[in-house]
Subunit: 229 residues, 2 copies
C-alpha cells in the first residue's frame, strides 16, 4: 500500500467539490488495509487543501490535477515548495503540523488518508513502515535537488525546471505546464519577468519551442543539458 497503484485503485466516495477544510469524515470502513481508509476529495482551482500550521492529520495522494505547496514569508514573498502531479503523495513532510500550505493549481482529485491510521498500520506491518520511510526519503531527495536548483543562474534554474517537468511527463519532450509563470517564478526564486525572458531566450536559440504559453516542446535536449550546468 502507500504505493501509487494500490492506493489509486481505491478511489471511492467522493466527498464532493466545494468541501473545504473539511477533512474526510471517518465514515469509511476501517478495514485492515490502507486503501479501505482512503477517501477521495475534490478541490477546484486555487482552493486550499490545507494551511501551514494546521495539524497534519492526513496524508494525500493526487489522483488527477496538480497541487502546489508553498509558504508565505513575512514580507509577502511566496516560496513554492513543490508541485505534485497525479500519483504523487504529499502532506507527510512534517511531524505534528504542516510546514507548508497546499492548494490545487487546477481542479484536482485527491485521496486522503488519516495519518494515524497509516501510522498504526505501519506499527503492525513493517512493509508499510518501510514504504512510509521510503516516500519521505524520496521527498527529501527531491527537496535537496531543489536546493541545488536555487543556487544556479536564472537560465539554469529554468532549464532545470523544464527538464524536471519533462521527466515527470508522459512524453518527455513535450511539457504541458499546469502552473502559471508566477508559480514557476516562486518555485525557482525568480521573478515572473525573468522566467518569461529566459523562456523567450531559449526559444530564440531553438532549444525549446513555446507553441502556447502553457506548452513547451524541448527541441534540443543536448543544448538544454549543457545549459543545466
Amino acid at each position: 500500500m502507500l504505493t501509487q497503484t494500490t492506493i489509486n485503485g481505491s478511489s471511492r466516495q467522493m466527498l464532493g467539490k466545494g468541501v473545504r477544510r473539511g477533512p474526510p469524515i471517518d465514515c469509511l470502513p476501517s478495514g485492515g488495509s490502507i486503501e479501505l481508509m482512503a477517501a477521495s476529495m475534490s478541490f477546484s482551482r486555487n482552493e486550499e487543501i490545507y494551511a501551514e500550521g494546521e495539524p497534519a492529520d492526513y496524508f494525500y495522494q493526487i489522483v488527477s490535477g496538480t497541487v502546489r505547496t508553498y509558504k508565505i514569508l513575512a514580507d509577502g514573498r511566496r516560496q513554492i515548495g513543490a508541485f505534485y502531479l497525479p500519483g504523487d503523495m504529499f502532506g507527510l513532510e512534517s511531524a505534528e503540523e504542516h510546514a507548508f500550505s497546499a492548494e490545487a493549481i487546477a481542479d484536482a482529485k485527491v485521496l486522503v488518508i488519516k495519518r494515524s491510521a497509516v501510522v498504526a498500520l505501519a506499527q503492525r506491518d513493517s512493509d508499510v513502515a518501510h514504504q512510509l520511510w521510503a516516500v519521505t526519503a524520496r521527498e527529501l531527495q527531491r527537496v535537496q535537488e531543489h536546493v541545488l536548483l536555487l543556487i544556479k543562474t536564472a537560465q539554469e534554474r529554468v532549464v532545470g525546471f523544464l527538464l524536471e517537468m519533462a521527466e515527470r511527463a508522459r512524453d518527455d519532450n513535450e511539457v504541458e505546464l499546469p502552473m502559471s509563470r508566477q508559480d514557476i517564478a516562486d518555485y525557482l526564486g525568480l521573478t515572473i519577468e525573468t522566467v518569461s525572458r529566459t523562456l523567450t531566450h531559449l526559444a530564440t536559440t531553438a532549444a525549446i519551442e513555446v507553441p502556447t504559453s502553457r506548452r513547451i516542446v524541448l527541441r534540443n535536449r543536448a543544448a538544454l543539458s549543457r545549459l543545466n550546468a
Copy 2:
C-alpha cells in the same frame, strides 16, 4: 535506539584515524540492539567520510567534531547541503547511494552503523522503524528550511545561518563556528566576500560581535530576528 543518548552511550572500538573509505568491519557483536552494532571511527580535518555516488551502506552519528555534506557541480561550484554537529545523524538521506559527499570539517569521531542492520532491526521493532522515519522527516524539514534561506537576501541568509547555529549551540548567544567562511558561503549560496562583508556590517550595527573570526556573539537578537525577514 537511534536516539542520540542511546547511541552515544555505546561508543567503543575506535577503528583509528587514517582508516579511509574503510567502513567498519563487521566484527562487533550483533546483539539485539543497535548500539551493539555501532562502530566508532575517527576522521581528521578535511578527510572524506564517503563520496557522492558510493553505496550508502552505513548510517552515521557524530560523537564529536563537525561534518559537512556537499556536492560539486559540473562547473566546480560546491554546494554544502548541511553541517552536522555532535548528536546529529547523517548519511540516511538517500536510498541506494549517497546523494552528497561527506567530510570532516574538524577532527571528528563518528559512530557508524550498518544500514542493513538498522533496516533489519526496524523490520522487527516498530519503534526503530518509527524513529528511522522520524529522523528522515526531521532532515526533510531541515532541508526545506534551507530552501527558504536560499531565496532570501544575503543579509537574511547570513542572519538565518547565525540564528540556526545559535539554536544548535549550548550558549545560544555565542556561536563557535567550526567552519570556514568558504564553507558558510557554499552553504548559503553566496561568495566568501559577501559573507565577510555582511558579518562586518552586522558588527558595525552592533547586532553581533566578532571577537575572533570563528566566534560570533549575538548582541541583539531582536534586531537579528527583524533582519531575518
